[in-house]
Symmetry: C2
Subunit: 339 residues, 2 copies
């Protein structure tokens, strides 16, 4: 079966390729009659135009890139869902790239986005990313970039995020209300906007409440593989028996807190109250059910994609640069913070 191009189609129909091309795009300069014939034949032979020939000619790819740290994470997979929903509607294709929290990989991946491979980029930065030159370069090549969730604060670009500071504040407030005397914020990388803002909110609540916070380390960083996180959490809780409340800044950390509690006979919520930033579906059926600050993950993805497409369509990227969409998270109290 020789490949089916517009040329074969044209020959089959006894028309020129130009006419066929125009007919396929429903151009007004083609007679209704001809259009009908062309469409019918295209349908019959299941003609699908070569996307790359078209991309090359039109200098647009009908493709966007989504760069994220990880896909095996509820938040990110829900966000992908939201992104896909709008991409499909816009007739766009979605390339997925994973940075695995590595700055080097992220840079390499961003490099794939040049030269017309994609018309725009959605990115949630890695926890190692502390400068944004690679992303700026993308912008300077006129490739629109939108951050979602994990933004790079000092870079001018549209951002779709959640109310991290307020949520951090709320999480501490809740622990204090429930009687915690020594709550701790478990960060995953303070260079990450989401972590530093959540931590800042957390800190503000402590000081607002007049909690003694000198010589008391209430923000602890925790990174690495699941096993490494487990060890760090275990260590922390063993060395600091005074800790009676903990906020997990990301989902992965919550899991390990529970694992440590299981292994170390630490009772949640009696000995330790737990709040987690998380979109875990299983939060209500955990042992005990987990109090979460749930981000609107699908909506964040969807909204970020929408902003990206308006940039792609308007071709006026600068005009959107100060767009910041904030979609609030929801605190859902469950048993892990019960008194």
């Amino acid at each position: 079966m020789s490949k089916l191009t517009i040329k074969t189609l044209a020959k089959e129909l006894g028309l020129s390729i130009a006419t066929v091309s125009k007919a396929l795009k429903d151009s007004h300069e083609i007679s209704t009659e001809t259009k009908k014939k062309v469409l019918a034949m295209a349908e019959q032979l299941n003609y699908v135009p070569n996307p790359y020939a078209s991309s090359l000619r039109k200098q647009k790819s009908k493709t966007i890139a989504v760069i994220l740290p990880e896909v095996a994470d509820n938040f990110f997979s829900l966000a992908i869902n939201g992104i896909q929903a709008v991409a499909v509607q816009k007739n766009y294709h979605v390339l997925i790239y994973l940075s695995h929290e590595s700055f080097e990989i992220e840079k390499a991946v961003v490099n794939h986005c040049y030269s017309g491979r994609v018309d725009g980029v959605l990115i949630s930065i890695s926890s190692e990313t502390t400068n944004a030159e690679h992303i700026q370069k993308l912008q300077s090549e006129n490739i629109p970039v939108v951050f979602f969730d994990r933004e790079f604060e000092s870079l001018e670009a549209p951002k779709v995020i959640t109310n991290d500071y307020e949520s951090g504040y709320l999480s501490a407030k809740l622990l204090l209300e429930k009687g915690c005397k020594h709550p701790v914020f478990l960060s995953t990388s303070l260079s990450l906007s989401i972590c530093s803002k959540r931590a800042a909110g957390f800190a503000a609540a402590l000081s607002d409440t007049g909690l003694q916070t000198n010589n008391y380390q209430y923000v602890v960083d925790c990174t690495g593989t699941q096993e490494m996180i487990f060890d760090q959490v275990k260590d922390l809780l063993q060395k600091h028996k005074e800790i009676d409340g903990i906020v997990a800044s990301v989902e992965r950390l919550a899991m390990q807190i529970y694992m440590v509690s299981l292994s170390g006979h630490i009772n949640i919520p009696k000995d330790l109250k737990v709040v987690a930033f998380s979109t875990l579906e299983t939060a209500p059926i955990l042992n005990p059910s987990l109090t979460t600050i749930t981000q609107p993950a699908f909506e964040i993805g969807k909204s970020a994609a929408e902003v990206l497409f308006t940039m792609i369509e308007k071709k006026k990227h600068s005009i959107m640069a100060d767009t910041t969409v904030i979609l609030p998270s929801t605190l859902i109290e469950r048993d892990s913070t019960a008194v």
Copy 2:
């Protein structure tokens, strides 16, 4: 900043575009000296070749498509991880398409894979898919296709799956051993190979054990949104108080069984023992911890991608058609089946 093509590069270097092109691919017919100069300049200007021009010319896209029902599911996101791992290594790009369990969407998506958009397709079919003409057409256009997890049984194509029948058998066996007198298999769509095979294994275990199975419906189909599944499960358990054990054929179902048990004061494992086909990370910290049959999701994705790439590289698709890789699942006993 005007766009950077091989032409500009060549002019900048005072060389022909052919020489530059060859130098970039490290062709042996170019002097080391020239190569060095070209590479240096390319590096300096951050030249990235236009992928679509290259694709058009070489008739290969360096891109694969992954078509799956859903991304917000542990199994699939882990599988994507595995796929990505090998794609990156092969310098390939990954397009993700979601069928949302819809046959119509799946067909539409498959249609995007023609005309050179991708060099190969990895697919896990939707629960509605009961014929594979769309996929056969792909094969007849010489686009290699590999199934992972959810295969289409009667289609000749490489498949990477888990030992569904044996696992189904094991799950029933376990429930019976734990004293269940009336275990039930909760399917999500018997047209899905994974469900029908798991159900068949389940049934075989019942009959091997000599359990009375006439006028006893031990396989129940359960589909729709989370809410619909919840209602169906609730209904089932209310109408059939005799059910004392249940196997969830997919992760989504397990969640709802737990939700029903919570809402209806059904005690797991006392009143009802539960086994789930699932890669849920949170299985050990559920209330009660969940006995799972855990599929090697990452490895399935990885292996499927590997098979696909050997097909892409060998260009001998037919030779692989009878490849079936079976990666066994692991039964992990936890409290949801405790006596």
